[in-house]
Symmetry: C2
DNA sequence: TTCATTTTTTGCCAAATGGCAAATGATTCC
DNA sequence: GGAATCATTTGCCATTTGGCAAAAAATGAA
């Protein structure tokens, strides 16, 4: 919980009473490696904040290949706004790729916090904007660089992910095959 | 202006008086092909809405190559939030790649609208979230598909851009060389 | 430890893409 | 119209990456 409080206070001020209320509405969800936080085809029902572990957001392309869109690790929000806000089916899976502890808020509680805490909506908007911007920035280099450069940038962006997850997920994130990535690593 | 009113009313309701105020604060900026709407290294000073024409957001990578991150065309917002909000130097250029008419709001006027019009901030947040989501969705396929598929998807996403801009920009957006794109087109 | 399973590396060859330069085509300006 | 400029296509060959399958290494369970 402490991590989450710290996180949100970056984006605006809240008093102790407000923080307590937020705290009271949250729960800790424990996922085993391989469990799903949310699934494609279902409407997102909760907002999460990763306390421990790594998740990946993925989908299946039209060839049936599983594509990793990005990773979400400690101290980041895991949240499918589009599905949550618009009540439409999610297009991606969020899978725990290590054991995870995730702070979660249900849809109802989340809404209640928005209605109760003055300024909470502004903080949330800032958090969401930042998270989305981050995603854009993390995807862009993947397009224009060659595979080796992409891998080097990946290591910069996710230094604490590299040795904790299978190579295949990284390859799928980088848009290359596992074999190619293995060869690329050998040459570094 | 009509286009902009229509655009914002998708995201929330405003009365005539409010719309008039918004109208009054806007100006029309005309750019010639090749002109910059904003430049890397400078702090974004305005919010734009494209009435006519196409712009591209681009930057130079560490090899000195010019990379097109994405295109922004008619009826879309052109806005570097990160630079605008945080008063930090922009990391990208926004270049008109056809002659453009852009509705612009200065930083001051924009701020004034936020302070004056109740509910404007919520609408803006929705607009920004949507624009950012769109960017993420437009970048993702570029990573995991082969070049031909990327080009086909590009044509779906930007049907009215293809024949109005040079091939080289599209190639740079797709992350391939102009020659490769030319060959790919021949095979379709 | 030992066996089974999963993950990673490697070899082979095919296919895709890049780099460079020249040829062709289109546009603009005088 | 003609010259200059810019955009696109093409040829040639080098390099990168993919596809497939087998070997090697790492991990986990009994």
């Amino acid at each position: 919980m402490k991590e989450f409080i710290e996180y949100i206070l970056q984006f605006g001020n809240l008093n102790q009473q407000q923080l307590d209320l937020i705290s009271k509405k949250s729960a800790v969800l424990e996922l085993r490696k391989g469990d799903f936080f949310s699934e494609a085809g279902k409407i997102a029902q909760q907002v999460g904040f990763i306390l421990e572990g790594i998740t990946r957001v993925c989908y299946f392309n039209n060839k049936g290949e599983e594509i990793t869109k990005y990773f979400i690790d400690e101290s980041n929000i895991v949240f499918d706004i589009e599905s949550f806000d618009n009540k439409i089916a999610s297009t991606a899976y969020v899978e725990a790729i290590t054991d995870c502890k995730i702070l979660v808020f249900s849809k109802n509680d989340w809404q209640e916090l928005l209605n109760t805490i003055v300024g909470w909506d502004t903080i949330i908007h800032k958090i969401i904007s930042k998270a989305l911007l981050q995603k854009v920035e993390r995807r862009s280099p993947l397009v224009s660089d060659d595979a080796t450069t992409r891998y080097l940038k990946f290591m910069e962006i996710f230094p604490n992910v590299i040795n904790r997850i299978p190579l295949s997920y990284i390859a799928s994130y980088l848009g290359i095959t596992q074999s190619s990535l293995s060869r690329i690593r050998k040459n570094i």
